[in-house]
């Protein structure tokens, strides 16, 4: 039972490691975070299956939900983990955990990821990480939160008195729609959420990279645009001749006629 001692060691180094046992195998699950373990740390989910005969029989390792590192880094980490298991001298699983943690710590502050709201590099301005592990600029997130609040107020005003309960008064993660509020007292929740993330901002360092569009690309795009314009205009004219284009004014008139007749 080589794995028992190793799992014990693992659980003493890492907090809250989940271990599931059945007759054929043991499953270890954990969310590994970078060394700093702050609100803005990069993280990754790991799932390891250990079979009878371990460590001679290789464990099956799955990594998922990489947050705060780029797709390219994620691929690199996967390869590193495979190597790590092969080269480990005694405790492959403990080694894999450490490898992941070191890697996240090394890469997380050099992000080449984009903010999902403004699609500009995260390293442009301070970032936050939502409780569902999504990375966004603080300024973009704040703008989004303000907009959501305005929408709630507007919806409440528009809803009839008896319909007010139906108005959704929660704030959601813009990426996965995870509910970020704890109650429907949205004014208070708004302040709480904003304050929390304001306190937990962090600035990332950017790896050097080329600007998104250079002159050559711009010129090529312009050419594509002109060709598409021509093609679209031609199709539009053809469909119009065939009576295929919706005539909004006509349709509105028809709808009005129907409703007028209906009212009579």
């Amino acid at each position: 039972m080589a794995e028992n001692a190793e799992i014990e060691a693992l659980c003493s180094i890492w907090e809250d490691v989940e271990v599931i046992e059945d007759s054929q195998k043991k499953i270890i699950k954990h969310k590994i975070r970078s060394m700093e373990n702050e609100a803005t740390s990069a993280s990754i989910r790991i799932r390891i299956e250990i079979f009878e005969g371990y460590p001679e029989v290789e464990p099956k390792i799955e990594l998922s939900m990489a947050r705060g590192i780029s797709e390219r880094d994620f691929e690199e980490l996967k390869l590193k983990v495979v190597e790590c298991v092969k080269e480990s001298l005694g405790m492959p699983i403990v080694d894999v955990f450490q490898t992941c943690c070191d890697f996240l710590t090394d890469r997380q502050h050099f992000s080449d990821l984009d903010c999902s709201i403004c699609i500009s590099p995260l390293s442009n301005s301070p970032i936050i990480v939502t409780s569902c592990d999504h990375f966004l600029h603080f300024s973009c997130f704040s703008k989004y939160l303000h907009f959501s609040k305005t929408e709630i107020v507007k919806n409440l005003q528009e809803a009839q008195k008896y319909d007010k309960d139906k108005v959704d008064q929660h704030f959601y993660c813009p990426i996965c729609r995870y509910n970020l509020s704890n109650s429907t007292e949205f004014e208070r929740e708004f302040q709480k959420i904003l304050e929390f993330y304001k306190k937990n901002q962090k600035t990332l360092k950017a790896p050097r990279r080329d600007s998104v569009v250079n002159g050559e690309d711009a010129e090529r795009n312009l050419k594509i645009w002109r060709e598409q314009q021509k093609r679209l205009a031609k199709i539009f004219e053809k469909q119009k001749l065939a009576g295929g284009i919706i005539d909004i004014e006509e349709e509105k008139k028809r709808l009005r006629l129907i409703s007028e007749n209906f009212n009579e």
């Binding site: 907009f147 598409q228 093609r231 199709i235 539009f236």
Partner: protein
Amino acid sequence: MAGALPRRIIKETQRLLADPVPGISANPDESNARYFHVMIAGPDESPFAGGVFKLELFLPEEYPMAAPKVRFMTKIYHPNIDKLGRICLDILKDKWSPALQIRTVLLSIQALLSAPNPEDPLATDVAEQWKTNEAEAIKTAKQWTLAYAQA
């Protein structure tokens, strides 16, 4: 025109041109960079196959906080699209999020063509037809595609 064009819109536009989605083209208007001429090809295996549908897409001042406004210009027989070309799609209304983009919106519309949903109709008469006599509805949709949506 009001204000400078946000960087996000410029970036989205460039990516749409340089790296288009198969079966979809989105082209900004010459005089208004917030207005897009869109063309979606009817998906294979759908009653709209072989057709190309023209749409207009407009990015309001609050975009990306507020959803883009999209409408079919080509006539289409579909339970979730009404006679005015308006589309019943949750991400264009209460399920909009600023993490979505023009690209994702158009992909969703393309998916809606592949999978009409008569349970959540906008064109009630079309939906009724779709529910009571699906074969007939699909036939009509094909006829409309042939008559109105040719390239």
